[in-house]
C-alpha cells in the first residue's frame, strides 16, 4: 500500500516564531557577552560633555553625567540578561518541583505545600521585594536575582499543580503503574514531559517578569547603584529630568531594549508551543 507522508513527522525543525524569537534572544545574548569587548567606552566612564545628541562619536548621545548612553546600554544588557535567565531558571525549578509533588501526591503533602503557597501568595510581592531589598546588607545583582527568583515561583507552582492533577487522571498514568513504574518514574518520565507546554508558557512570563522586576526595582532606586542595567539607565534618566531636556536617546533605547527582549522570549515560547502541538497534537476524528 502506498504510504502517505504527513507533514507531522517533524521534518521542519524550526518554525518562524521560534526563529524570530531565537534571533532576538541570540542578539541580546551576543550583546551581553561580547558587548563589553566591543563597547566604545568603558563602563561608567564620565569624561564626556553632558546632554550630547546622538552623533557618530556617541551613537546614542550622552546623559547628564556625561556617560555614553550606547555603552551603558550594552553593559546593561548583561545585567538584564542574567537576571532574566537565572531568575527564570530558579523559579522554574522550584515551581515545577513544588507543583508536581503537590499535584501528584494526595492529601497532606498536597495540602501542606499548597498552604505554604497560598500563604505566600497573599503577600504583595513587589512590596516584599522592596522591603527585602532595603534590608539586605548589600543589594548586589545576586540578591536581586535571588529575591526575584524566590518570590515568583508561586503562580508557577499553582498552575503546574493543577495541570498535574488533570494529567494524573489520564489513562497513561494508570498504564504506567501497571507495568510497574514507581511514583518517581511516573512523575518524571510520564507526567513531566506532558507539562512542557505549561512550563514553557510560565517560563516566558516569569523571565519577562524578572527582567521587568529588575528594571522596576532599579527604577525605584533599590538596585545596586554601582551596577548598570536597563532599569538603572531609566532611573537616572528619570531623576535627571531627561524628558524636560528632550533627551529621547536616553529614554527610548533602554525602553525598546526591555520590550524587545521580552518579546523575544514570548515569540520563542509561543513558537515552541506550536511546534509541540503540531507534533504531538490530538488526532482529528471524522465520521
Amino acid at each position: 500500500m502506498k504510504k502517505v507522508n504527513l507533514p507531522l513527522d517533524g521534518s521542519r525543525r524550526w518554525n518562524g516564531k521560534q526563529l524570530a524569537g531565537g534571533a532576538i534572544l541570540a542578539f541580546f545574548a551576543a550583546a551581553a557577552f561580547i558587548g563589553p569587548l566591543i563597547a566604545p567606552y568603558p563602563k561608567n566612564d564620565i569624561e564626556f560633555e553632558a546632554w550630547l545628541t546622538p552623533s557618530m562619536k556617541h551613537l546614542l548621545g550622552t546623559d547628564s553625567y556625561g556617560q555614553d548612553v550606547f555603552s551603558q546600554l550594552i553593559y546593561g544588557t548583561q545585567t538584564s540578561f542574567l537576571v532574566g535567565v537565572i531568575a527564570g531558571f530558579i523559579t522554574t525549578i522550584i515551581g515545577v518541583l513544588v507543583g508536581l509533588t503537590a499535584g501528584f501526591y494526595r492529601k497532606w503533602v498536597s495540602d501542606a505545600l499548597m498552604f505554604i503557597v497560598d500563604l505566600l501568595l497573599i503577600i504583595p510581592v513587589i512590596a516584599l521585594m522592596i522591603i527585602l531589598a532595603s534590608f539586605l546588607p548589600s543589594m548586589g545583582l545576586t540578591s536581586i536575582i535571588l529575591v526575584i527568583g524566590l518570590l515568583s515561583w508561586l503562580y508557577m507552582a499553582r498552575s503546574i499543580r493543577s495541570q498535574t492533577l488533570s494529567e494524573k487522571q489520564r489513562g497513561y498514568v494508570e498504564a504506567a503503574r501497571v507495568v510497574g513504574m514507581s511514583n518517581f518514574e511516573i512523575m518524571t518520565k510520564e507526567i513531566l514531559p506532558n507539562l512542557f507546554p505549561i512550563i514553557a508558557a510560565n517560563l516566558v512570563s516569569v523571565t519577562t517578569q524578572a527582567v521587568l522586576a529588575e528594571a522596576g526595582l532599579s527604577f525605584l532606586g533599590i538596585g545596586d547603584p554601582r551596577s548598570v542595567s536597563w532599569g538603572t539607565i531609566l532611573t537616572l534618566a528619570h531623576t535627571n529630568n531627561a524628558i524636560m531636556y528632550d533627551a529621547w536617546w536616553w529614554i527610548i533605547p533602554p525602553g525598546i531594549a526591555i520590550a524587545l527582549f521580552c518579546y523575544g522570549f514570548v515569540l520563542l515560547g509561543n513558537g515552541t508551543l506550536e511546534r509541540f502541538r503540531a507534533k504531538r497534537g490530538a488526532q482529528q476524528h471524522f465520521s
Partner: protein
C-alpha cells in the same frame, strides 16, 4: 491442576463524601474464582457491575477492602516496593488506547521503557522491533519512531499489547480492549490476543459487556451484576442455556439480526 490465579472472597467498597456524611458504595462484593494456565475467562456485565474494579484489583491498581488474590498459591503483595514484581507476572490491556498511550512518547519509549524497567539488557530497539512485528505492526521500522497521534486506534491498541507482552507476564487482563474500536479492527485484535495467548501460554481474563465477544474468546464465563457473580461456568453452556434471570435478560437484549426474521 493447581490454579494459577485464585481470587478469594474479594470485596471493594469505595467511600465518598465528607467525613461527616460518608457514603459507602460496594463496587465488588465477595467475588471468588480461579484461573488456570492457558485458560480464557470472560467476565461479563454492564457498566457499573464491578468488572473493571475487579480487574484493577487483580493488576494491583486498587487494593481490595477484604479478601485476597493469590498467584501460584501466594498472596499478591500490595507493598509499593513489590509493584514491579507483581507487574512482571500480571499485565493489563486497557479499554481506551487513545488515553493509555502517552502522547509525548515515541513507540520506542512506550514499549522500551517497561522493558528497561524489567531488566532488559539487550538492544532495546531490536527487542521493540521484534515485539511490533509480533503484534502485526509491520514493517516495524515504519512505526517505531512514531507518536501516538500518528497511529489509528487499532494500531495503538496493538502497541499496548506489545508493551504488555514485552514484560512476558503469565496473566493478561484485558478490560474491553475492543469496545472503542471499529468492529473489523476489533475482531483482528481478538484474533491477535488468541494467537498470542497460545504462543506465550498466557492465561487471559477477558472483560466485556458483549456476550458475543465473550463467546468468541473464552472457555469459561463469569456473569456479574451489582458487584456480584450471578452465574458462572462453561461459556458455551451458559450462552445456550442460561440459568440466572439476569443472564437471560442480557442475552435477550443483545442485538440479534435473526430474531425479527423468526417472529
Amino acid at each position: 491442576m493447581k490454579p494459577l490465579l485464585q481470587v478469594n472472597h474479594v470485596s471493594k467498597a469505595f467511600e465518598s463524601g465528607s467525613f461527616l456524611k460518608k457514603t459507602r458504595h460496594n463496587a465488588v462484593k465477595d467475588v471468588s474464582f480461579t484461573l488456570h494456565k492457558g485458560e480464557v475467562l470472560a467476565i461479563v456485565g454492564e457498566s457499573g457491575c464491578g468488572k473493571s474494579t475487579l480487574a484493577r484489583m487483580i493488576v494491583n491498581l486498587v487494593d481490595p477492602t477484604s479478601g485476597e488474590i493469590l498467584l501460584d498459591g501466594r498472596a499478591i503483595s500490595r507493598k509499593p516496593r513489590d509493584r514491579k514484581a507483581v507487574a512482571k507476572e500480571i499485565q493489563m490491556i486497557f479499554q481506551d488506547p487513545f488515553e493509555t498511550m502517552n502522547p509525548n512518547h515515541r513507540i520506542l519509549d512506550v514499549i522500551g521503557r517497561p522493558l528497561q524497567l524489567h531488566g532488559e539488557r539487550e538492544d532495546i530497539r531490536k527487542r521493540v522491533l521484534e515485539l511490533l512485528q509480533k503484534v502485526g505492526l509491520a514493517p516495524a521500522e515504519d512505526y517505531i519512531d512514531k507518536y501516538a497521534s500518528q497511529l489509528s486506534g487499532g494500531q495503538k491498541q496493538r502497541v499496548m499489547i506489545a508493551r504488555a507482552l514485552g514484560i512476558n507476564p503469565r496473566v493478561l487482563v484485558a478490560d474491553e480492549p475492543t469496545s472503542m474500536l471499529d468492529v473489523s479492527i476489533g475482531i483482528d485484535i481478538m484474533n491477535l490476543m488468541l494467537d498470542l495467548k497460545n504462543d506465550y501460554e498466557l492465561s487471559l481474563i477477558w472483560i466485556t459487556h458483549n456476550l458475543g465477544s465473550a463467546r468468541y474468546m473464552s472457555d469459561n464465563i463469569l456473569i456479574m451484576y451489582g458487584g456480584q457473580v450471578v452465574e458462572r461456568g462453561d461459556t458455551e453452556q451458559i450462552i445456550a442455556n442460561p440459568q440466572h434471570a439476569y443472564t437471560q435478560t442480557l442475552l435477550d437484549a443483545s442485538p440479534n439480526p435473526w430474531r425479527r426474521r423468526e417472529e
